[in-house]
């Protein structure tokens, strides 16, 4: 890396690639060569910077200028202005929404100020397709340290002392899990990385694998040494082609360099990693389902115990951790348990990566210390609610989690507090909702997901979630009674109490938490057949106020079903029998003449 004076980092995460970041890389390279700067400037395609809202991101090193929403056409200007003339391209800088001032250095942006990056330490800094860049940032040093200076017991103790808990959602102490697997007798043991991120609206693991694949490989090797296993398997979603590609490159480079493979660092320790592909089943995030899937079976869970630590892949002791959990390991080994446990709350140490999305200004991937409040995350980092609307709820934990409200905003985020508040950490999805979101519909959305993803093995999940969904649907259509709410709650509790695996045991959470926190909204649907948020199509009608309509015809032109008629400069009318309630007319009307009744 050192031979170049300047580096231009271009985000190669999925979001930015969808906005043509590949073309930006090409154009930048072209501009570099047009200016004969090949020997001074290196254009690096990195992993995700996290600030997806403002992507594609281009960052200039060494001066840390952070360009946002760059287009391929901007490449020439970046080179000619920033590099050649030494002038920042002002129009591509981030604008502080508070004071409309340009901020050049990401360190000073609200989005980044409160973040601490451990798992994401290399994302957006290194070229994930080059092992040397990983090594330059202490890569594989932890593996070297463990193999040469520590016994497996010592390394396990370090992880235990760090207080690291599983980042996939469950929050089981990682060191303890390793110790259990270590203590089980077995000639062959497996290290499995769960990269089957299935939570809708979460992309933490993908970003780590795309931006820093070696951190996971290194951690898996450390885990293998600790538990006494030489086989690593990464179970990754087939829907993540870029992550798969980068993992393949990383495995190949690591093998070439001898940091995985036979006799690593001459210590006699062997460890190798293979990829296994998921095929689109959320339930495979559950350990036993995941293992069955890797064995070529339907991804149905089995009752635990036996835990995978005792009998897992092919019946052998198997340690399963998720991507983010692994990504923390090398840092803990390098910096020590004490350092790691100094971050966070009493029972939840370190940081957590969240995929912040929904009705929020700064959508993106963030890593924050445990103990930060939801308020800080949503308003300081997330930049508040989009379009100046009112905050209503934040959903954490995906389909297993719940909706938290205003009253939860100042609770420090950690595993136990979230559970106590009726939600859970989950894998890290964090979806913000505003006043326009109907909470019954949100619960229904999650149940729709669960119904589709239930494996069908146990009755409460297979049939119960379907019935939950149908009852919610009945509520959103205004056909339910107050008695139904009681039946709904009992059913939700029984599903939690009796389901076979974690999916069913948590699937009613979105229902229960919205029932608890938005009881009035449920009652409004049931008693008055009204949807206060104006989302439930069956409970509303779009009407044009003839007083305010000026007859501009915009609404009738935008209507996809020609439900709006009226002469030019005359008040228009909506034919409610034709209207599909898509809301396009209301969005387009400049005179606020259309409303929901």
């Amino acid at each position: 890396m050192a031979k170049y004076n300047n580096h231009i980092l271009v985000c190669g995460g999925t979001g930015c690639r969808a906005s043509q970041s590949e073309e930006i890389v090409e154009n930048l390279k072209q501009a570099v060569s047009d200016n004969s700067l090949e020997n001074e400037i290196q254009v690096v395609r990195t992993g995700c910077f996290g600030f997806c809202e403002k992507g594609p991101i281009v960052k200039m090193i060494p001066d840390n200028t952070f360009y946002v929403q760059v287009t391929p056409e901007d490449a020439g200007e970046i080179i000619s202005e920033h590099i050649v003339k030494g002038r920042k391209v002002e129009r591509l800088l981030f604008t502080d929404p508070e004071n409309n001032e340009h901020i050049a250095d990401s360190k000073h942006m609200g989005f980044y100020k409160k973040q601490i990056r451990i798992a994401l330490r290399n994302c957006g800094f290194i070229n994930p397709e080059n092992i040397d860049e990983y090594i330059a940032r202490d890569g594989y040093a932890a593996l070297g340290k463990v193999l040469s200076e520590m016994t497996p017991e010592e390394a396990i103790k370090e992880i235990k002392d760090s207080g690291l808990r599983g980042r996939g959602g469950g929050g089981f102490p990682t060191g303890l899990k390793w110790e259990i697997t270590h203590n089980v007798e077995g000639d062959e043991k497996y290290v499995v990385c769960n990269a089957d991120e299935g939570d809708p609206g979460a992309f933490m693991d993908r970003s780590i694998l795309e931006g820093d694949p070696h951190s996971v490989l290194e951690a898996m090797a450390i885990c293998g040494y600790c538990i006494g296993g030489s086989n690593g398997l990464i179970y990754i979603r087939a829907e993540y082609p870029l992550a798969i590609e980068r993992l393949k490159i990383a495995i190949e480079q690591a093998r070439e360099l001898g940091v995985i493979g036979k006799d690593i660092f001459g210590t006699g320790f062997d460890f190798d990693v293979e990829l296994r592909y998921g095929a689109g089943a959320f339930v495979c995030g559950e350990e036993t389902s995941l293992i069955h899937s890797m064995e070529g079976l339907r991804g149905e869970p089995t009752v635990k115990p036996p835990f995978p630590s005792v009998s897992g892949y092919k019946g052998k002791p198997t340690n399963v951790n998720n991507v983010e959990t692994f990504a923390n390991i090398p840092v803990i080994i390098n910096n020590g348990a004490k350092w790691f446990s100094s971050i966070g709350t009493e029972k939840s140490k370190g940081t957590k990566v969240f995929a912040l999305a929904g009705k929020i200004n700064n959508v993106g991937l963030i890593e924050v210390p445990m103990g930060i409040t939801l308020r800080e995350v949503i308003f300081d980092i997330g930049g508040g609610i989009k379009d100046g609307k009112k905050f209503k709820a934040v959903q954490t934990g995906g389909p297993s989690g719940g909706c938290l409200t205003e009253k939860h905003l100042d609770i420090p985020i950690d595993y136990d507090n979230l559970i106590a508040s009726g939600s859970m950490m989950g894998s890290g999805g964090m979806i913000v909702m505003d006043e326009d979101d109907c909470m019954v519909s949100v619960a229904k959305f999650y149940l729709d997901f669960t119904v589709e993803e239930s494996c069908g093995k146990c009755a409460p999940c297979r049939i119960g979630n379907k019935r939950l969904y149908e009852m919610l649907d009945k509520i959103t259509k205004g056909n339910a009674t107050e008695d139904d709410l009681g039946i709904l709650r009992n059913l939700a509790n029984v599903i939690k109490d009796t389901s076979l695996c974690g999916l069913g045991q948590t699937s009613p959470n979105p229902v229960l938490s919205t029932m608890d926190n938005f009881a009035d909204e449920y009652l409004a649907h049931v008693k008055d057949a009204k949807c206060p948020a104006g989302q439930c199509k069956d409970l509303m009608e779009y009407v044009i106020n003839p007083e305010t309509c000026v007859g501009c015809t915009l609404c009738s032109r935008v209507c996809p079903v020609d439900a709006i008629s009226g002469d030019k400069k005359q008040p228009h009318e909506i034919d409610t029998t034709v209207c599909i309630k898509c809301g396009a007319c209301m969005e387009k009307c400049k005179f606020n003449a259309i409303s929901i009744q």
């Binding site: 494996c455 069908g456 297979r462 379907k466 009992n490 029984v494």
Partner: protein, 591 residues
């Protein structure tokens, strides 16, 4: 032995480590209800997916309820099997299951015998608070088995039996979530799948989702048709189980009552499949000795071991799984078909009636027999040798339907000539019985000596695969026995690999042999019932005056008057068959 102490419903319990809560509760008389769980002790298989969640119990200190069937007891556990929380959960889960189940109990084949119905009754379900979509699948009617998957509760017993016990593997769970159901590949009809019609799926289904094809209406229609002479044959296993349908103790022999009931039902002649079983021994035994003698004479091409061929499920199994070995099994038809073939020739002649005017009904412990009787090669000009095959359960239903008080019937004898049989024929019902019967005859034919002791204990038992060597007066004859198709597969793979040392192998598709057939009264997972039936069969054998097939006077007469000699020309025509390659092949286009 490690032990664990715990409390169940405030009762102290001491169990062996590894015991489930379900078993521990049972040991102190607490019956935790289960729906999907089924332990086939004597067969050595357990269906235990932990899927129905009916058996949940409350464990002190545990966050959620624990499935009793899958949770091992641990030291100091405090368990409540019927707290309000448990009862509420159990009822709610049952209501859920019923909310996706057709409410047509009154017309359901399982009415009164349905585990789901019983449990709903026990839990006191009176209404279902959930309305919503119900699963609908097309009804699949094969020659033997009907699948009505609307009634499936996903207990997965059929899938387990089909895959693990029988290794037929024609059923699998498909789709997922609410859409999931157990089905053959591509939801094809069973008839197009690799199903062997062994019917063990029917035997274990807790609801009416899987049932046999009901032929009772057709039988009754024949009985009332004055132009038809209707005769019936009853398989050996039926007499040891039919009583159970009338609340008799398992293992009660009801041969005489059964005969009496059949006569009351209006059958013109009541015969015994046992007669044909003796005939089978004559044919199959002769074939065995023929191959054996060739083998001893140094013929390298002769196919040994010889495999029995009386079981239609097993025949279907090797036709689709071992099509390269179609020349290994005996060519002898099954007793049911031998009976039909002789009845519609020899007997029809004797009775002076035309083939077309004779209806042959068989009462079988088996559902595959329905398919077998419909095989085209077992018909003459479209007229089948056996017209209708009904199961033990169907016969019981006919008796009940005819207002016959089974308990009060006085024993009656079978009609002749095809009602006379030996003890050798009776034991066809049990695993190992066919080969024991064959040995009794083959020994005397081969050695020309009289067999002093006819009981071959070494061939009996319940183990899935057994082997024994029988001394044929200095010639050791190695015999293998398998019951359950999974066990059969293991022996077959040895034969296929040329590693088999046996001279003869008996195979029965159903665990326990025919006494465990899929047409028998439901055992509801209690395999001790099968053992009691088996014991009854051996008792029947012991009580018989003649216990060797070749000594059956009517069989001797049949050969003298009609067939000539075993494996002779007419025997070959009437009593032997051939097999077909039924393995599915994919068509490929040469680009």
């Amino acid at each position: 032995m490690d032990i664990v102490k715990l409390n169940i419903d405030n009762k102290p319990v001491v169990v062996e480590k590894g015991t489930t809560i379900l078993e521990a509760a049972k040991s102190v008389g607490v019956n935790v209800p289960t729906l999907c769980h089924m332990k086939l002790h004597d067969v050595g298989y357990e269906n235990n997916p932990g899927g129905c969640r009916i058996c949940v119990v409350e464990v002190e200190g545990r966050r959620n309820l624990a499935p009793a069937c899958k949770t091992e007891c641990t030291e100091g556990m405090d368990i409540n099997t019927h707290s309000l929380r448990v009862i509420n959960a159990r009822r709610t889960v049952m209501e859920l299951i019923l909310s996706d189940h057709p409410a047509e109990c009154l017309t359901c084949v399982k009415n009164g015998k349905c585990d789901l119905q019983t449990m709903a009754q026990d839990l006191g379900i009176r209404e279902i608070p959930f309305e919503g979509e119900q699963s609908h699948y097309k009804e699949d009617k094969s020659p033997s088995i009907i699948r009505d998957m609307d009634k499936c509760i996903m207990c997965r017993r059929c899938e387990m039996v089909c895959n693990e016990v029988q290794t037929v593997g024609c059923l699998s769970a498909i789709n997922r979530g609410f859409e999931s159901v157990v089905a053959p590949a591509f939801e094809m009809d069973l008839e197009k799948s690799t199903c062997t019609y062994c019917g063990q799926c029917v035997a274990v289904c807790p609801t009416g989702a899987l049932s046999e094809v009901d032929n009772t209406r057709k039988v009754i229609a024949s009985l009332v048709d004055p132009s038809k002479t209707v005769i019936v044959q009853t398989a050996p296993a039926v007499r040891a189980a039919l009583g159970e349908e009338f609340d008799m103790e398992p293992g009660t022999l009801v041969t005489g009552k059964m005969t009496s009931a059949l006569k009351k039902l209006g059958f013109d002649k009541v015969f015994d499949t046992d007669f044909a079983a003796d005939l089978t021994i004559m044919e199959e035994g002769t074939e065995l000795l023929g191959r054996l003698q060739k083998h001893l004479a140094g013929d390298k091409d002769v196919k040994l071991p010889i495999l029995t061929s009386c079981c239609p499920g097993w025949v279907n199994f090797f036709e689709s799984n071992f099509p390269d070995m179609l020349d290994v099994p005996s060519t002898a038809k099954s007793p049911q078909q031998m009976f039909g073939a002789v009845a519609k020739t020899y007997l029809a002649d004797q009775m002076g009636i035309k083939r077309e005017d004779m209806i042959v009904v068989s009462v079988m412990p088996c559902v595959a027999k329905k398919y077998e009787s419909g095989r085209p090669e077992f018909a003459v000009d479209g007229n089948p040798d056996v017209d209708f095959s009904i199961t033990t359960r169907e016969l019981a239903q006919m008796i009940k339907g005819a207002n016959i008080n089974f308990d009060d019937l006085t024993d009656e004898e079978f009609d002749n000539p095809m009602g006379e049989s030996t003890g050798a024929a009776v034991i066809f019902a049990n695993t190992g019985g066919v080969i024991e019967a064959a040995v009794r005859t083959a020994y005397e034919v081969q050695t020309k000596k009289k067999l002093e002791k006819v009981d071959f204990e070494e061939l009996r038992g319940f183990e899935g695969i057994r082997s024994a060597t029988v001394d044929f007066d200095g010639l050791p004859i190695k015999i293998g026995i398998a019951h359950g198709l999974g066990n059969a597969r293991k022996l077959l793979e040895d034969v296929q690999a040329g590693k088999s040392e046996f001279h003869a192998i008996e195979i029965m598709a159903c665990p326990g042999g025919c006494i465990g057939g899929a047409g028998q009264p439901y055992h509801h997972g209690d395999t001790t019932i099968l053992k009691k039936r088996a014991e009854a069969i051996y008792r029947e054998d012991e009580g018989k005056e003649i216990r060797k097939s070749h000594e059956n006077p009517f069989i001797v007469k049949l050969y003298e008057e009609f067939l000539g000699e075993p494996c002779g020309e007419l025997s070959h025509k009437l009593l032997h068959t051939h097999y077909f390659d039924k393995k599915k092949k994919v068509e490929i286009n040469n680009d």
